[in-house]
Amino acid sequence: MTRDLVVQFLAQGAQMAFVLLIAPLAVGVVRRVKARLMRRQGPPLLQAYRDLAKLLRKESVIAESASWLFRSAPYLIFALTWVAAALVPSFASGLMFNWAADVVALVALLGAARALLALAGMDVGTSFGGIGSSREMMIATLAEPAMMLIVLTLAIAAGTTRLAGVADFFIAEPFGVRVSLALSLISLVIVALAENARIPVDNPATHLELTMVHEAMVLEYSGRHLALIEAASHLKLVLYLSLLICLFAPFGMAPATAGLSGWAIGLVAWIAKLLAGAVLLGVWEVSIAKMRVFRLPDFVGVAFVFGFIAILLAFLTRGVFA
């Protein structure tokens, strides 16, 4: 009994460590794919780790007008995002804290992190930070309802909002054609692009452009604070990739009863799917252009529309209205 508990505890700890360790690699893969497709050499795959190490060594410069919020926000944002990322089932569905990995809780954790980031962006009082924060909030007000609709659709299908439960349901259920799930997938991909500040919503590769959103908010940060914020945004990318994998491609994931060998297979499958997702993201970002900021409500609104149709169809299949 005690031994089981220790193994479970170690497995959960391993998941926390894995998401943190693999996050910069995933970002490195995306950058590398983009560079290669543009016929550039591109940075080495491990460049993101080196950047983080360099930033951690550097001195942190803080504006005179900054308050305590500005200094504490990076730690809180990093902690919230790490917890959220570590809760998404990656290689196994039955880990120790799987009861806490509720999608609604996940949305709440990310929402709290975003609110802190937006406040920190406005704290120093520069116009760039303010514009970034207001745009981030505009995107969030559109993306979050869509996210909740996706959650509800999945809850109708699987009967639970617990991620591990949903994953178990889709592993056990034979593959079927379901319109509502296909629509939720499209919707979740759009939400993921918007939340991770990816093209066409935001361009992660620019620092000095009037259309930037995420980079505008963190412009005032430097040194270890910036390292934490960068690490948090890497974690968020892994979180959304893991979420998509866990909900829509959970094959290979170890079910609740699996032992060590099942976990090993699950881990390999998860890493392979994660890197495949990163490659797809790179190809996607190269193939399309960034949208005008004022077109964004239409684009993210599509996620909302698809989420809404998905939930209507899910209700229809069950005949809940009747």
Partner: protein, 219 residues
């Protein structure tokens, strides 16, 4: 739930999505492509129910939908639009966001209505009917929110796509082939009539040479 049911549900759902794509698109060319996609999906849906329910007469309906509305009408409209030089922006009465929200409300209305009214029907036919009604209402909405003649015609024809989908879902309707043929002919007539009338209204002639003279700059 059988596989036959799931595939027809999927195709009807894709048609509903293309209806929203019609509302979302701003350019005439993109609207026409979305319409072609919807008609081809309709053809697939009709062909699938012909195959799975063993009703060979529906294959004819599917063929008509595919050739006439999936290929001929979109191509003809593309050419007309190119000749009219209106392939840029579509003028609209309301914005995209409002149109989509109203569309969502109509979809919800259609489903609530059908599930209440047709409570006694088999669940398969009922759901197909609900989706078809939603597509019809979205076609109505499309005709209301667009001012451009071409996109209004597209709205009308997408409404007709919904009607054919509803007719396919309802069993024991042998007239469906005749009805769809008659409708298609009527619509092609409508398409040509609109353009002829509009052109005549503006230039007092149906000759397209008049457009060349009015263009001003020559390449």
């Amino acid at each position: 739930m059988s596989q036959a049911y799931e595939i027809s549900h999927l195709l009807a759902g894709v048609m509903l999505v293309t209806s929203f794509a019609l509302l979302y698109q701003e350019r005439v060319a993109a609207v026409l492509n979305a319409f072609a996609a919807q008609s081809i999906t309709l053809a697939l849906a009709v062909a699938w129910s012909a195959w799975s329910d063993n009703r060979p007469d529906l294959f004819i309906t599917a063929l008509i939908a595919l050739t006439l509305k999936g290929i001929v009408i979109p191509v003809a409209l593309h050419r007309t639009v190119a000749r009219l030089g209106i392939h840029r922006e579509v003028e609209k009465v309301v914005g995209v966001g409002v149109a989509l929200m109203v569309g969502l409300a109509l979809t919800g209305l259609a489903q609530a209505l059908v599930l209440k009214v047709a409570a006694g029907m088999a669940s398969h036919a009922r759901e197909e009917l609900a989706l078809a009604l939603a597509i019809i209402l979205l076609g109505f909405l499309m005709m209301i929110v667009r001012r451009n003649a071409v996109t209004q015609v597209v709205g009308f024809m997408s409404m007709e796509n919904g009607l054919i989908l509803a007719a396919t879902g309802a069993r024991g309707m042998p007239l469906v082939v005749e009805v769809s043929v008659a409708f298609s002919v009527l619509i092609s007539l409508f398409v040509f009539a609109v353009f002829v009338f509009r052109i005549r209204e503006r230039f007092d002639t149906v000759d397209l040479e008049a457009l060349d003279r009015m263009r001003g700059d020559r390449r």
